[in-house]
Symmetry: C2
Subunit: 347 residues, 2 copies
C-alpha cells in the first residue's frame, strides 16, 4: 500500500485548531510514512503550523503536510440538515471530499458528530446492506477490551439496525485481531423476556446468522467483566453508557485523590500509590483517549472526542492509520456479503 | 404515627429466604419500633427464623414478627402477564395485599422487577395523573448524591411519561430533604437539538411547569459531577447506566487490588490504602446497597437488588421505614396536584 494520507478537519472540536495542528505534527514526527492534509482556514493554519514548527525547531516536508483551504466551519450546535444543505465549503465537508475523491485514505474530525455522520453518508455512501453507519470504540474490560457500538450516531434504532450493527461490529473486531468474537446485545436482563421490542427482535435475527458467534443478551456489569467482545446497543444507550462511565471513572479518581490527602498515613499511602493510580485513570477514559470509528461507510472516518486533548487527537489519527492498514471498509464489505448474502439481505 | 409495619416478600431474590430472614431479624434488633410480616412458605420461614434466632441466642416478640403464609413463588423468569393472571397465592402478591388492606405500611421484595411492578399497579393503583410508576434510587455524585429514575420498570417511554417521572422525582427529592431540587433530563448532549423525540418533547413539557426547577439536559458525566439533584430517563437507559456503573466500579476495584500486589512498594502502599479504598467501593455500588423505590403508587413498594446481600436487604427495609416516616406517597400526591392541577392534567 502507498503511504497513508489522512485528511484532518482542522477546525472542529472544543479545543480549536492549534490543538489539532499540534496533534498532527506529533503524528508526522512519530510515523515517518504518514501524510496529512489539514483542512480549514488556510492563513490561520499556515500561521499555526509555522509557529509550532518554529517553537519545536523543526521542519516538515511540504509533501507530507498539505494545507487544504476551506472557508466555513461547522458549529457544534449546527443541525445536520442545515450542514447538508448549507456550508458547501466547510472544513468537515472538504476533508470528507478528499476521501471521496481518493486524495486521502481517511478523515479525522473532532467536530459535530451528527453533522459528520450526515456528511459522511452523503459523500461516501454506506456499504451494501447497511442502512446507517454506527460509531464504535474500544472500552476497557477485565479481559482487555470490548468493542461497543453504536455510540450516538443513531438515537432511534429498529431491530434491523441493531442486527446490522452487530454484524459490522463482529467483522471490525475480527479485522482488529479478535478471533471468532463473541457478540452480545446490551439489555436490562439476560432472560429472553427482558427488554424492549427492538432488542428482542434483533436477538431473533442474530440467532439465525450462520458464522456469527452471537452469545445473547448482556448487562452493563457483564460488559466490564469482559463477557463479550462486541456489545451492541442503540446510539442513545451507548452514548449514555460511555459518558456516564467516563464521569464515574473521573469521580472515583477525584475521590481517591481526596482520600489520600486525609491524614499523614493516607498521604504516605498516596505518595506510594500515585503512579499506579495515574496509569489506571488513563485507561478508564476510553472516549477521551480513543477515537470512535464510523463503521458501515465506503471509507474511513474517525470521530475524535470533542473535548479531546492533543493526546486524544493523536490516538484518533493513529486509529485511522490502523484502519487504513487493515483496509477495514473493504474487509467489512467482503465479510458482510458472506454473512448477509451478496444482495445485502439476510440469507 | 403507629409503629411501622413492613411486609417482606421472603421468597424473592437470588440469595433465597435465609438471607431475607437474616436481614429482617437484623432490622428488628436495630429498630425497636419496627414490625415485620414475613410472607412465604410458612413452615420453611418458621424453621429459618427459629434457626437464626437460636444461632444468635435471641428471641423476638411474636407481635413484632409475623409469618404470613403464601404457597407460591414468583420466579425471576416469570412474565409479568403470567404472574398477574396466575399465581394468586404468591409471596409477592400476598405481601402487596397486606399493604392494600392496610395491614402493612410498605412492601419490600428482592424478586422479579417486572412482576413486582405489574402486581403493585394492579393491587395498589397509581396516583392521579400518573400512568406508570417509576423506579428511583440515589446515585453517588461529587456533591453527595442525585436521584435517578426510571431504573427499568418502563423500557419504552413517551414524552408524557418522562414528564411525569420528572415531577415525581422532584417531589420525592424534596420529601427526602433536597431544597428546590434541580431536575434534568438525561440526554446525549446538552444542546437543544440533541437526542430522541421523546426527550426533546419532554423538555418542552417540563419548561412549562411553574414551581419546578427544571435545568435542561444533562449528560452522563454531568450526573456524576453533581450537576442535578434529579436525573430523568427511560427505564432501559437508567438500568444500563446503573448496572454499567456498578460494573465499572467493580472493575476499577479489582484493578486497584491487582495494582497493589505488583512489587514490594506497591504492597506497602496497598496495606496503607486498603481501608480507604474499601470504604470507597461500598459507596460506588448504589444499586446493590440501596433499595430502589417505586414512585407513583398509592403505597410504598421497595425493590431490593436481586443479588443483594443481607446488608443490601437491610438497607432496602430501612428505605421503606424512611418513606413510611416521610409519608412519601401522600406527599407526592399532594405536590403533584399543585404542579399538575387537581385533575392530574398539566395546568
Amino acid at each position: 500500500m502507498s503511504a497513508p494520507v489522512i485528511a484532518i478537519d482542522a477546525m472542529g472540536g472544543d479545543f480549536g485548531p492549534r490543538c489539532i495542528v499540534q496533534a498532527g505534527l506529533a503524528c508526522l514526527l512519530k510515523h515517518p510514512s504518514l501524510h496529512l492534509a489539514l483542512v480549514g482556514q488556510a492563513s490561520l493554519l499556515k500561521t499555526l503550523v509555522a509557529e509550532e514548527l518554529a517553537a519545536a525547531r523543526l521542519s516538515v516536508d511540504s509533501v507530507r503536510l498539505r494545507i487544504v483551504p476551506a472557508t466555513e466551519v461547522v458549529g457544534m450546535d449546527d443541525k445536520p440538515t442545515q450542514v447538508l444543505r448549507g456550508k458547501p465549503d466547510s472544513s468537515m465537508r472538504v476533508a470528507l471530499q478528499l476521501v471521496r475523491d481518493s486524495q486521502a485514505h481517511a478523515c479525522v474530525s473532532a467536530g459535530n458528530t451528527g453533522a459528520l455522520m450526515a456528511l459522511s453518508r452523503l459523500l461516501l455512501g454506506t456499504l451494501a446492506g447497511i442502512d446507517r453507519p454506527a460509531m464504535i470504540t474500544a472500552v476497557p474490560t477485565d479481559s482487555g477490551h470490548c468493542h461497543l457500538l453504536d455510540l450516538g450516531a443513531n438515537v432511534d434504532c429498529t431491530a434491523e439496525h441493531l442486527y446490522q450493527f452487530a454484524l459490522m461490529g463482529a467483522v471490525a473486531a475480527e479485522a482488529l485481531g479478535t478471533v471468532n468474537p463473541r457478540v452480545a446485545l446490551l439489555n436490562i436482563g439476560v432472560e429472553e423476556i427482558k427488554g424492549c421490542q427492538q432488542v428482542k427482535q434483533a436477538a431473533v435475527l442474530l440467532q439465525q446468522v450462520e458464522g456469527l458467534n452471537y452469545i445473547g443478551f448482556i448487562e452493563g456489569h457483564g460488559l466490564y467483566r469482559g463477557e463479550a467482545d462486541v456489545v451492541v446497543c442503540d446510539g442513545f444507550v451507548g452514548n449514555v453508557l460511555l459518558k456516564s462511565s467516563e464521569g464515574l471513572a473521573e469521580m472515583i479518581g477525584r475521590r481517591i485523590e481526596t482520600l489520600f490527602r486525609q491524614g499523614l498515613l493516607a498521604r504516605l499511602a498516596g505518595l506510594l500509590a500515585a503512579p499506579l493510580l495515574r496509569g489506571l485513570q488513563g485507561e478508564m477514559a476510553p472516549a477521551k483517549l480513543n477515537g470512535a470509528s464510523f463503521l458501515g461507510l465506503q471509507g474511513i472516518v474517525i470521530k475524535s472526542h470533542g473535548g479531546a486533548s492533543v493526546e486524544g487527537l493523536q490516538s484518533a489519527i493513529e486509529r485511522a492509520m490502523q484502519e487504513i492498514h487493515e483496509n477495514l471498509p473493504g474487509r467489512v464489505r467482503g465479510r458482510l456479503e458472506q454473512l448477509m448474502g451478496p444482495e445485502g439481505h439476510r440469507s
